[in-house]
């Protein structure tokens, strides 16, 4: 990470630190069960901007391992990812955060999908993802304040933003990341007509005079710059062989990660890839009976 990039992020973190989180909690009875209580959470991030999240705390005394789901690239905020067994919440604290622009955090800024990836991209200081990364850091800071949490077992699960958050703030012991947005973005966008990277192509085609500025901004976000600061144990979910972000393409990222890393190449089955991820997390978090918290159709 060069000096300009380091300063950009340090300034961002310093500015974030000037806004207290001021969290508010409310129990959501409809999503609470005998094995876990669900809370809506509102907290302040950079801007200031008020965010929204779902915090689930298992029943019992703890301490519990935690899974933090930082903002995804979609408008909807899930309590836990679609298809995850609800019983995951019986063993882990889970916290999912809507970054600015996502549902429940879409006032005053409502993000568009597609659209968010290039929102303000011609100016690094006002690029939408500067705020979203700050939101992700703020979410992790908040989660780490929970007394029920076992600080030795904190897993971040998500796309590029999860890895960036793990690099910028301490506390994540494990990261499960599926890069999609910020790895060689400008270069890889030219090789695909598929969204979300197609957003970059649309932008450059429509505003050619801003292309260089966009490329400069993306330089602040490239995962290779963050990797040397990631000390957490990482599971990198690569695309299937031959795809844009397969293991071969991600080799420079793998080499740059400071902590231990495992690469899983997609088997192009949400069942096989999902099962691998669930087992990986459970093994790292000391959960020996992972079968009991898998979806019914994945159990032996």
């Amino acid at each position: 990470m060069d000096d300009a990039v380091r300063k950009y992020w340090q300034d961002t973190l310093d500015e974030l630190a000037s806004y207290p989180a001021r969290p508010e909690f409310d129990v959501l009875p409809i999503r609470s069960t005998p094995f876990a209580t669900l809370y809506s959470v509102r907290l302040t991030s950079l801007g200031p901007y008020r965010l929204f999240g779902y915090l689930s705390i298992p029943t019992g005394t703890g301490p519990f391992p935690a899974i933090y789901y930082p903002p995804k690239y979609q408008s909807v905020l899930e309590i836990i990812p679609q298809g995850t067994a609800n019983l995951q919440r019986s063993r882990y604290i889970t916290f999912s955060l809507a970054g600015r622009g996502q549902r429940n955090a879409d006032t005053p800024f409502a993000a568009m999908f597609p659209g968010l990836l290039t929102e303000g991209i011609d100016n690094a200081a006002s690029y939408a993802f500067r705020g979203i990364v700050a939101d992700s850091v703020r979410g992790l800071e908040f989660l780490l304040t929970r007394r029920e949490l076992d600080a030795a077992r904190v897993v971040l699960v998500g796309n590029d933003v999860a890895l960036i958050a793990a690099a910028l703030t301490a506390g994540a012991t494990h990261v499960l990341t599926t890069p999609a947005l910020f790895y060689k973005t400008a270069e890889l966008a030219t090789k695909t007509p598929t969204y979300p990277l197609e957003e970059i192509n649309d932008y450059v085609r429509t505003y050619p005079a801003r292309a260089e500025a966009a490329r400069r901004t993306l330089g602040y976000y490239d995962l290779r710059g963050f990797a040397p600061r990631v000390t957490a144990t990482t599971l990198l979910m690569a695309g299937a062989p031959g795809t844009l972000l397969d293991a071969r393409a991600l080799e420079p990222l793998v080499a740059a990660l400071k902590g231990p890393v495992t690469v899983h190449e997609s088997e192009q089955s949400t069942y096989k890839d999902g099962l691998y991820a669930e087992r990986w997390m459970a093994a790292r978090c000391g959960i020996t009976d992972v079968q009991s918290i898998l979806p019914e159709h994945w159990r032996d």
Binding site: P29, I30, R31, T33, Q74, S75, V76, L77, E78, I79, I80, Q82, G83, T84, A85, N86, L87, R103, N104, M112, F113, P114, P193, T194, Y195, E198, N201, D202, Y203, R205, T206, A240, Q268, S269, T270, Y271, K272, G274, P295, E296, H297, W298, R299, D300
Partner: protein
């Protein structure tokens, strides 16, 4: 390995006696509302080979529905069209890839989705249980009509060949493909992947994952309303629409689907009325329903039925 799925699973679903009358009445109400289509060029999303437009039209309760509309720059005067229907929580995609395959493509955002949520916005989670005790105001009553009106929009376009319209989608989009093919005879071919909204109450018993978990949450908090919930969703269950489907249709399911239990996919397929129907069950696959292998099958299916090609092109 997971246990084998029972292909002969017996659904608890029953079809209400007034099912057809209920939907006839809904259609009557909808038909009285003008479509009022707007087609607005979107230069940012337009490229050398594909023209992209933002589309808006009016649906039940006068709610404005948004959609993406893509068409190949080079096309015949009358071009075949595909309507794409979205998953439960996905943001409807811009369907450029379908335009590149030679179709005019409409990607609909039913009410509550991004760009269609100004007048109706129950949120996620919540959409699945919004007014679920009353079939006359249940969220999916309007949501279904929004998708059917997408076909009406395509039929209103001079560049669309009305005899060559298809519909497809995965997950919720798969369920909506079923209901749309059932309720719009103009649909000439349909491909439904991992269909959601089929076997609602069976799914709630078979799996405990979101989105169906929303119903489980609801009846746990309000156990006294369970009978009303079951009554309502029977009017919206894709399985109860399936016997109306007459067009060629293919359905793919994953045998380890953790979102839409494969048992419900088998039940749905058995009830589909079309003579030309085929089921593709994929072992070793979850909610992706074997997409990596099945995409080419879908392409060949639509090429055969809509592009008048042998499917090998």
């Amino acid at each position: 390995m997971p246990k084998a799925v029972a292909a002969d699973y017996r659904s608890r679903l029953r079809k209400p006696d007034d099912f057809d009358a209920f939907w006839d009445d809904v259609e009557r109400q909808a038909s009285a509302i003008p479509l009022e289509p707007e087609v607005i060029p979107d230069p940012l999303r337009t490229s050398d080979d594909v023209e992209t437009f933002q589309v808006f039209y009016t649906s039940l309760e006068h709610i404005r529905i948004a959609a993406w509309y893509c068409r190949p720059v080079r096309r015949a005067a009358r071009t075949p069209a595909i309507m794409l229907l979205p998953g439960y929580q996905m943001d409807p995609p811009i369907p450029k890839e379908w335009a590149r395959k030679g179709y005019i493509a409409l990607s609909v955002a039913p009410r509550g989705k991004l760009r269609s949520n100004r007048q109706f916005n129950p949120g996620y989670p919540n959409l699945l249980t919004h007014n679920i005790v009353d079939r006359h105001t249940y969220a999916y009553r309007g949501f279904y009509v929004d998708t059917w009106r997408g076909i009406d929009f395509l039929l209103s376009r001079p560049e669309v060949d009305p005899a060559r319209i298809g519909v497809t989608g995965n997950s919720q989009g798969g369920g909506l493909t079923i209901t749309t093919a059932a309720m719009r005879r103009e649909v000439r071919a349909a491909a439904a992947g991992a269909p959601y909204l089929c076997g609602f109450m069976d799914a709630v018993a078979l799996t405990h994952t979101y989105p169906y978990q929303e119903i489980d949450d609801y009846v746990r908090l309000h156990p006294e309303r369970r009978a009303d919930v079951e009554t309502t969703v029977a009017y919206f269950d894709g399985i109860n629409f399936a016997d109306k489907i007459a067009c060629p249709i293919i359905v793919n399911i994953g045998l380890q689907d953790n979102v839409c239990p494969p048992e419900t996919g088998y039940t749905l397929f058995e009830r589909i009325g079309a003579k030309d129907k085929q089921l593709y069950p994929y072992d070793g696959h979850g909610h992706d329903a074997g997409r990596v292998r099945h995409t080419a099958i879908v392409d060949r299916f639509f090429a055969r039925h809509l592009l008048d090609r042998d499917g090998n092109a």
